[in-house]
């Protein structure tokens, strides 16, 4: 799996390129392991389970080939955003059945302010509304991806 880490500004997302899995559960496992490897999550298995629990009430798939897993939990050490693309598409049981090709995970510690957390989730949703911007978020060029994420922030 090819990965890339950019850590310069407070709100800089971590880009996790190329999710290989086609099943939602495996994709979430990959994202949790990626965050854990960078010290952002204490227990990747618990994070995975907590994400699936939340998804039973709020599906993360928002259509347009996009999923936005989002969660505040004690197992998350620091607020962060992970952006991943899945070229083959993930079967996310999305509205309309469209496979998910772009995943933006918004994670925060359980005591992180709700307002700030929701703003990040809303920013992620807004960032994926237009096709052009989605394509830029999945670009091979890190500068293009970062600019696409920061627009309107």
């Amino acid at each position: 799996m090819s990965t890339e880490l950019i850590t310069s500004a407070l709100d800089t997302p971590l880009f996790h390129l190329d999710l290989k899995h086609r099943r939602r559960e495996n994709a979430l496992t990959d994202l949790a392991a990626f965050a854990h490897a960078r010290g952002l999550v204490r227990d990747p298995e618990r994070l995975h389970d907590a994400l699936l629990r939340r998804e039973r009430v709020v599906s993360f798939a928002v259509g347009r080939g996009v999923a936005i897993p989002h969660l505040r939990s004690l197992v998350v050490s620091a607020p962060h955003v992970l952006i991943a693309r899945a070229k083959k598409g993930i079967d996310w049981k999305a509205p309309g059945g469209q496979p998910v090709t772009l995943v933006i995970a918004v994670l925060a510690p359980h005591d992180h302010p709700l307002e700030s957390f929701l703003e990040r989730v809303e920013h992620a949703a807004e960032a994926t509304r237009l096709v052009k911007r989605r394509l830029r978020l999945m670009s091979d060029d890190p500068a293009v991806r970062l600019a696409a994420w920061r627009e309107g922030a």
Partner: protein, 118 residues
């Protein structure tokens, strides 16, 4: 909490915390509206309420009492320990307050919150 039973019970307490966090968030109309505007479709929270009841039944009496008491008093029953400080009441914890081997939860003797040492 001792040994693997301690780990299992700690897992249940932490799951309970997660479920309560979700319930607090997703039972709020303003939050649900914002999520809907962002393109999500929040469903009913009854499955979470059922899970909460199951977890409360499964976790030992001692921990459920600590949990419910702290939740009623502070809203958030479990807090992290950072550099030997309870993040709930900011008291420095004595060495004797450390959890035993394989344990991740204790109770803050100052505020009564459950401390997560993970």
């Amino acid at each position: 909490m001792k040994g693997s039973a301690a780990v299992d019970e700690a897992t249940l307490v932490l799951e309970l915390l997660d479920v309560d966090g979700l319930l607090d968030e997703l039972s709020t109309d303003a939050v649900r509206q914002r999520l809907r505007r962002a393109g999500f479709a929040p469903g009913p929270v009854e499955p979470l309420e059922r899970e909460r009841a199951r977890l409360l039944d499964s976790v030992g009496r001692r921990w459920s009492q600590h949990y419910l008491r702290a939740r009623q008093r502070y809203g958030r029953a479990v807090v992290r320990v950072r550099e030997r400080v309870c993040v709930g009441c900011f008291i420095t914890l004595p060495t004797s307050a450390s959890p035993g081997p394989g344990e991740v939860l204790t109770v803050c003797e100052s505020c009564g919150r459950i401390l997560y040492w993970g």
